[in-house]
Amino acid sequence: MSALLSVSDAHVSYGKVEAVRSVSLEVADDEIVTIIGANGAGKTTLLNAIMGVLPLKGATAFAGTDMTPLDIEDRVAAGLCLVPEHRELFGTMNVEDNLQLGAFRIPKATAARSFERVYTLFPRLKERRKQLAGTLSGGEQQMLAMGRALMGAPKLLMLDEPSLGLAPIIVADIFRTIGELRAAGVSVLLVEQNAQAALKIADRAYVMELGEFILSGSAKDIASNQRVAASYLGFQHEGASGI
């Protein structure tokens, strides 16, 4: 298994407070990996550090090259893309402009194909293409954030809480789309509080608690783990193994 992204012994601190401690993870080609954990476990911090938004102590390699000296912009060019928790859209610009800027680092011809792809994945965005991003509903904003990230034709898409604050029917839609990405050759690193939905589509999972990984394994094993079931899936009894 050749790892697309590999992080080893990563530490991230805010001043003296260490939010992520000695974390190692790998994502292979065409794989969906999820990190689940409670609020404040350090999941968002870890993603931001992998992207280069926060300084990370430790080794990170992407597609075989050392990422330590690279800026955010260079990591984007290398094919790593983050859809942040707050989406960070260009609110006063329309949907089409937001998507076009997502393809800022790739050639124009490729960008046209990306447009097709994103509009097929999210037909709603095509309907709303002249609307300002700031006036979209929460679900549409999440679609736009994912669409904008996909415009850059990333090899690995990192999603931070894509289900946050969305209605269940839209969450189902978003997760279905994440599943489709694998077929399109995009690996996904997914951070979620909605553990149940995340474990259903993921191949492998890491469980994070207080800045450390306490468990890792195939999504199936994790889902049937008693401790995980009790803390994150809302099952109280032995019956959890039956999922």
Binding site: M51, E73, V76, P84, E88, G91, T92, M93, R148
Partner: protein, 346 residues
């Protein structure tokens, strides 16, 4: 007052207002992209104007050497910043931008400067020199502190203004200069006489407004600049280099400043410190436009120009006072209309 005088004043006001509009637009542009309130905008005006005036007399202005010196400093900063990963391509780019470019501009200036150089060449040279200074000014003074608060950036901006003004005194001396007119043709409509110079002012202002509108509305680079202004982190996450956006904003601002200077130096005598006052009037227009709106800024600039023209006719001693007092009701209204917001951290 009769209609003729009124028309004359209005014409005068609109000519000045057009210049203020250019400067106001540049201020809005720079603030939107970098959050810097560009006090040294006035120095771009004087540097452009006086470099052009000096070139017209056949001398090489000191600004060419300043651009070279600033390029060397910028190169040093680039190397220092990239010290941990000195890839050949990165170094080559730094050399090309920071050393080769200003060296070429300086060589061109020394090569072409002379008493018989055509006006167009002199204009091109002064624009090149000031553009390089604007570019390096961002690299040296603002890029290293790009993440700090608006107040810190403003203080740096005032510092740059003082430094550049002092250098202006060194380069151009305390005496004022005038440059040759762009054209000597004139056009008479009724009682009004339009010189080629003032027509050039109108034409270029309109052209710049249209060009900026096209650039920001329809080109990918323009949209990227806007995106940087709307959401810095979002822009970085799609791979837009915010430092590049800042450099482009400063480049445009310095070129606009220099053009304004070249447009007015044939009309009025400019001193090394005149630019500041002119820039401030552009600033008032930009403030009236809320530092965000290009059309509102342009309209406000015409208003500022007209108020200035009329007050210099009626109460010439109080001309500046009246113009700068314009800003007070605007600030009061704006602060009443918008609740105070804490500056967002990014």
């Amino acid at each position: 007052m009769n209609t003729t005088i009124m028309l004359f004043l209005l014409q005068d006001g609109i000519t000045n207002g057009a210049i203020y509009a250019l400067l106001g637009l540049a201020l809005v542009l720079v603030f939107a992209v970098t959050r810097v309130i560009l006090i040294p905008q006035g120095e771009f005006v004087t540097f452009g104007a006086l470099s052009y005036a000096m070139l017209a007399t056949g001398q090489v202005p000191g600004t060419a050497k300043l651009a070279m010196a600033m390029g060397v400093v910028a190169f040093g900063l680039d190397l220092f910043e990239a010290r941990r990963s000195l890839r050949p391509r990165r170094v080559a780019r730094a050399v090309a931008l920071n050393i080769a470019l200003p060296a070429a501009i300086m060589a061109l200036t020394y090569g072409l400067a002379g008493p018989k150089t055509p006006i167009a060449v002199n204009i091109a040279l002064s624009l090149l020199i000031v553009a390089a200074i604007g570019l390096f000014l961002y690299r040296i003074a603002f890029q290293p502190i790009a993440h700090t608060s608006v107040l810190v950036l403003l203080i740096a901006s005032v510092g740059c203004h003082l430094a550049l003004q002092g250098l202006g005194l060194v380069f151009f001396g305390a005496e004022g200069l005038r440059g040759p007119a762009l054209s000597n043709t004139a056009l008479t409509i009724g009682p009004l006489r339009f010189t080629g110079q003032s027509l050039a002012v109108y034409g270029l202002t309109v052209a710049f407004i249209v060009a900026l509108w096209l650039f920001f509305g329809f080109t990918l680079m323009g949209k990227a600049l806007r995106a940087t202004a709307v959401n810095r982190l979002g822009a970085r996450l799609v791979g837009i280099r915010t430092t590049l956006s800042g450099q482009i904003a400063f480049l445009l601002a310095s070129i606009i400043g220099a053009i304004s200077g070249i447009l007015i130096v044939p009309i009025t005598t400019l001193y090394y410190d005149t630019g500041f006052l002119i820039g401030l009037k552009g600033f008032i227009a930009a403030i009236i436009g809320g530092l965000v709106s290009y059309p509102l800024t342009a309209v406000a600039a015409l208003l500022v120009g007209s108020v200035e023209a009329f007050s210099s006719f009626y109460a010439s001693n109080f001309k500046e006072v009246i113009v700068f007092t314009l800003i007070l009701p605007v600030l009061v209204l704006r602060s009443l209309a918008a609740p105070a917001v804490e500056e967002e951290k990014d």
